[in-house]
Structures are given as structure tokens and as C-alpha cells.
Symmetry: none
Subunit: 201 residues, 4 copies
DNA sequence: CATGAATGAGAGTTCATTCAT
DNA sequence: GATGAATGAACTCTCATTCAT
């Protein structure tokens, strides 16, 4: 028993290693930089070995994608225990950007990179994205129930807020704010979030 | 003189031809579909010829990027003659998204794709982006001067609004709204823009 | 004794299992589809295990080849009890084609595929083929003894008849009669056999 | 003009070189031995270069296949001027086997190897095979018209004769007559042909 | 000015086989 | 006896780029 358990563990450790290596390559030079060969090289294995752990490249990308959503969800949950709806929604937005900027490679795969895996897979598992979307919707709803966002359409507000945080995250990750010094950028982001918060009422 | 002028013109016509062809390939099947060979094939020239007009692939991408900004700027100017600052700002936002969705390949290169050209070039020419940014800033400033966005920081609002429209555009272009039917998506976008407009005061 | 006997039996059962699995893969998707890995997968063993029972891939192919001849021989024997030599020879020909078309994978390995195993083995075991050849020769001889094929050389007739049925079988198996509808092909084959029978005298 | 002509010639010479090299590899170790890499290696070019002359591997195989039929047809025509129908048919059979044995690689691709190119192509061009088939049919018909093969069905005889010569050719090419000394084999073949000729009446 | 032949590197993937455990 | 991890070589094919002509 213990032997097979160890094997299992080793197997999943290897999968993890492949995954993390792919992620690292991704960070360095983006999507196109991730190749089976490079992953193999980076961990000193032969290309064929990768295929013992993943069916094909898509599967790696897809797992990365799922992993990202999973991490992301946990990250967002951490904020849900705040009582005041506005404070919670505000914290949610900050957490969103926080996650995106501390895990740019995940965020990129999840929300920016061109659909990596075959469509079918994407469709089947977009529920992962939905779960996240629902969280945001619930938070906005709580605000509306508490009297904020009066006269606004729920779906429209949710989409607007998502677009807003995604816009910030993706502009930064894809380096369109390069020329703005880091600290200024932080202030700018904080200011924008602050502004957004103020629009609740 | 006249001869060298003609030469110049021919040269720039050829550059243009290459550019438009690249764009067409881009639109048809996405970024990865653009290869020197395919461009050459499409215009019945040999691959080598491309290099007489462009130093390398990056340069083509970079010029496409500039061209995009140029078109974009013109597009945005069309809206600047609206008198009422709020109406103007609103129209500006709509125009932004309108441009992005009708020229997704330009928008992608400009604001989403990983920096195509070497950093140096980017630095030199990011003024193109600045010009656009200034336009938005002016419009927001007009609104503030007219008594809207009271108590808000100019830069923060500008960044927020930009992030907002960019968020919408990039979520759609990179197909993260795939599962939402087209007409519903249009309503959603309109609703979000409407909401954003309402936050001006 | 009994223990080693059991071991023997188990060993030969496993060899059998591997063989049948190879055959199945063969039938399903043709020659190129047979790989050690796929055989192993299909019977839930690891690739390494196969090598405990067969030295290499060639050996599997070679045994398949032998097995084919063995089956083939039995098949042909079934016809030998027909009294009339011409009727027997005719039935022999039909049986030949019948076997080939109902066991195309065997037939292919036996008579069409490029020598699978090292030549040495082939030499040693071509007696299997000889046994089959003798059967045919005996039948033709009986016909000659009975007054048919007058003035013909025995060996020449035997070779001609073999070539004839092999020609039919291999044209069909290797899909050179693809464009002929199945039922037409059957009539054609029957007609050709009929013609061949008529040449006995 | 002369320049472009020379280029043309060089291009077609290179195509020819690739083709002949493929053919050579084919002879040595059969179908599976033909790879783009090996062709390239053999003529001291890089693999990519092959693709300047042929779209893909299928195209090479397909051209080989066509070339074979073309040569084959010419070969068979050489025999058509014989007046006497029986003599002509007999010569036809000899020519068939002669071609097969002097061009085993062509014959293999044409009539033995598993369909190399995509089915569609095969279908479109099987007319090449038909042309050959018609030739044989005409010859048999002439014999029948001259009073031979009385009471026989034309199609059946044609198929039988084709199967017969193909059987001889393919047994030899795929080395099922290995153990028979060359000269004995030649006598055997001659004998079989002689027998076949004698069956015309 | 333009060609087009050629390359070398790299992509994803599959395979027969080995070997320490 | 069996495993399964790993390899190295092979596969087809595409690409940006160079350079003699």
C-alpha cells in the first residue's frame, strides 16, 4: 500500500513539476515560449517523458488554466466574510487585482491568452469562471439590497465592475503601463479603485 | 528629384501592401497565422523581398501597431466636436469600444498582444498612446470643470475609465464572453456604459 | 514438476494473450497501429512486461506469422476429404481465398507484409509454408493422375494456381479492388475461380 | 526567357532527384524506410528544403505512384502492335511481369503497398489504373472475338489473368519465393505463363 | 529591385527498448 | 514475474532569415 502511495505521490509531484516549469516559461516570455521541449529541457528530462504525465500540450495548458481558477477562487473567498456589503465589494475588487498582479501567469492564461485548449474543454469547464462571476454578482446584489447602486441594472453593474478590474489587471500585465513608475502606478490603481467605490452611491 | 520621389512613393506603397496583407492574415486566422512566408505568398512576392522593405517581422508588427494608433486617433477625434462634456465623454467611450470591436486586430496589437517590437522602439513611440490618453484626459477634465466628478482625482478617473473600456474590449476580443449571445452582450455593454455615464455625478 | 508445468502454462497463456491482442490491433487499424505500448495498454500490463515473453517486436510478428500458417493449414485440411480430384482442387482454391478474406491480418503477415522477422528465422520456418505448398501440389498431382492438365508441367501448374489465388486475395486485401462494389467483386471472384476450374481440361 | 527556363528545369530536376531518392530508399527497406529526413540526408539537403518542392510526404508518394503507372503504361503499349491476339495477350502478360520485376519499387507502390496518399487523391486518379485495365480487357476481348476462351465470361477472364500475373509479381517482390533459386524461379514463371497461355483454348 | 533556394532551429508527438526496483 | 519511469531517436512539418544571383 505504502509503496503504491509513494508512487502516486511521486507521479503527482512530477506533474506538479511540469506544471510549475511551464508556468515559469510562461512568465518569462509568454505563451509562445512554452514548448514541450523547453519544459523538458528545463527539468532535465527528455521530451518524451513529459508525455508520461500529460497526454499532450493542451492538457498541460488546460490544467494550468484550471489551477489558476482554483487558486483564484480561494483567493476571492478570503474576502467574503466582511460584513458591510460595500466594504466587501471594495475588498473583492482589490483582491481581484491583487491576485492578478501576484500571479500574472495564471491570470494571463485565464483571462488574456488566446484560448489554449480545444473549445470543447473550455466550454465544459467555463463553470469555473462562472463560479467566480457568481461571487461578484452576489456581492453587487448585497449592495443593491442595502440601498446602493439605486436605479442600476444588476447585470450591467456586475459586468462594468468586472471589466474595470480586468482592464487594470490586463493593462499592467501586458505592459501597457510600463512607462508609469511602479509607485505612481500603485497610487493610480488605488485611486481608480477608490473612485469606483465612490460610485456605489 | 522626381525620380527619387517616385521611388519613394513606390517604396511606401509596397510597405503599405505588406502591412495590409499582414493585417488581413491577422484577421483571418489570428496572430500565429501571420508569417513572412504567408505574407509573401499572398502578394505574390518572394519571402526575401519582404526584407527589402522591413528589417524583420517585428518591424512589420511595430508599424501595424503605429498604424493602429493613427487610425484610432482619427476615430476618436470624430467625437470631439460634441459640446456637452458629459455627452462627449460618453461618446468617447462608445467610440473606443466601437473601434476596438470593429478593428480587433489593430486593437489586439495595440493594447493586448505582448510587446511586439523591441523595447526601445516601444519607448520612442509610446507618445502615440500618450496622444490618445491626453484626449481622454481633456474630456474628463472638461467634465470636472463643468462640475461633474466632484471630489475625484483627475488621473484616477481617467485611468479608471480607460481600464473600464479596455476591460470590455479585451474581454470580448479575447473571447471571454463567448458564451454570452451576441445580442445579450450588446445590451450588457450598453448597460455598463450607461452605468458608467451615470457615475459622473 | 507440477509447479513448473503451471508456470509453463501461465507463460504460454500470456504469450497467447499478447498475440491475440496484437492481432486485434492489427485488424482494427492496420499494421502501423501495432506497437508494443498499445499492446501493453490493451491488456493492462506495462510495456516492459511484454519483453518478458517476447524478445522484441519482431518475435511477436514472427509468431503471428507462424500462427497464421498453422490456422491456414487446418483450414485447408478441411477440404482434403473430397474424393473427386477436380472438385477437391476447386474447393481448395475457394478455401484459400476464403481464409485470406476472413483472416486478412494473418494472410497479410504470411504472404504480403515485408519479411517481419530476421531472415534466419524465416529460413528455419518456411517449412510451414512448404507444408501448405505440398498440399496444393498433391491435389494438382491427383488431377493430373486422373487425366486432367494433360501435357502440363506439374510445378508450373502448381505455381500458376497459387499465384492466381494469391493474386485475388492480395489485390482485395491491399484494397486495389476498392472501387468495385462488394457484390460485384464476389461475382467476379467466383467467375475467375470458375474459369480456372474449367482450364483443368 | 532562357533564364526562367533554366530555373524551371532546375526545379524539375530537383523534384526528380527527390523522387528518385525516395524510390531508392523504398527499394532498400520498403515503405516505412521512406522519410522526409532520410530523403534529405541522402541528397545532402536539409529536411525543410524538400518542402520547397513537394507540399508534403503524401505528394511525393502520390507522384511516385503516378509515375509508376505512367511508366507501366508505356511499357505495356510496346506490346500492342503484335497482330495475333493470343500472342499479344501472352506478350502482355510477360511484359507485366517483366515490368514488375525490373521496377519492383514502382510496382510495390502501385499494387502492393497500403494506400499511401489520402483516399480522395487515389479515387481521382485511379483512372490511371483503369487505363491499364482496359488495355488488358481489349486484348482478352480480341482473343474471344478470335474464337478463344469460348464460353467464358469476359470480365471473369480479365480478372483471373490480372490476378495471376499480379500473384506471380507480388510473391516474388515480397520475397515469398526467396528459397527458390533464381534460375529455377525463372523457369517456373515461364512455365506458369506457358500454362496460362495454353488455357486460352 | 527582386528572386528563390536553402538553412538551422524548433515545434508536437510516437516509438522500441532498457533497467533499477 | 512485473513494473513503470525514462530515454534517444525518429517522425512530419513550419518558421524567420540569409544570400548569391
Amino acid at each position: 500500500m505504502s509503496i503504491s502511495e509513494r508512487k502516486e505521490r511521486e507521479k503527482s509531484e512530477m506533474r506538479e513539476l511540469v506544471l510549475q516549469t511551464a508556468l515559469k516559461l510562461f512568465i518569462d516570455k509568454g505563451f509562445e515560449n512554452v514548448s514541450i521541449r523547453k519544459i523538458a529541457d528545463a527539468i532535465d528530462y527528455s521530451p518524451g517523458t513529459i508525455y508520461l504525465y500529460y497526454k499532450d500540450k493542451d492538457e498541460i495548458l488546460f490544467e494550468l488554466h484550471n489551477r489558476g481558477f482554483s487558486e483564484f477562487y480561494k483567493f476571492q473567498l478570503a474576502v467574503q466574510n466582511i460584513e458591510d456589503p460595500i466594504a466587501r465589494l471594495d475588498a473583492h475588487g482589490r483582491a481581484y487585482i491583487d491576485f492578478a498582479l501576484s500571479n500574472p501567469e495564471y491570470y494571463d492564461i485565464m483571462f488574456i491568452a488566446r484560448a489554449p485548449a480545444k473549445k470543447i474543454k473550455l466550454f465544459n469547464n467555463w463553470e469555473l469562471g462562472d463560479r467566480t462571476y457568481s461571487l461578484l454578482k452576489d456581492n453587487v446584489k448585497s449592495c443593491i439590497d442595502a440601498g446602493y447602486y439605486q436605479g442600476q441594472n444588476l447585470e450591467a453593474v456586475v459586468f462594468a465592475l468586472w471589466a474595470f478590474v480586468h482592464g487594470i489587471a490586463s493593462l499592467i500585465i501586458r505592459e501597457r503601463m510600463q512607462l508609469v513608475p511602479k509607485d505612481v502606478l500603485q497610487q493610480l490603481t488605488a485611486g481608480a479603485l477608490q473612485f469606483m467605490k465612490s460610485t456605489a452611491k
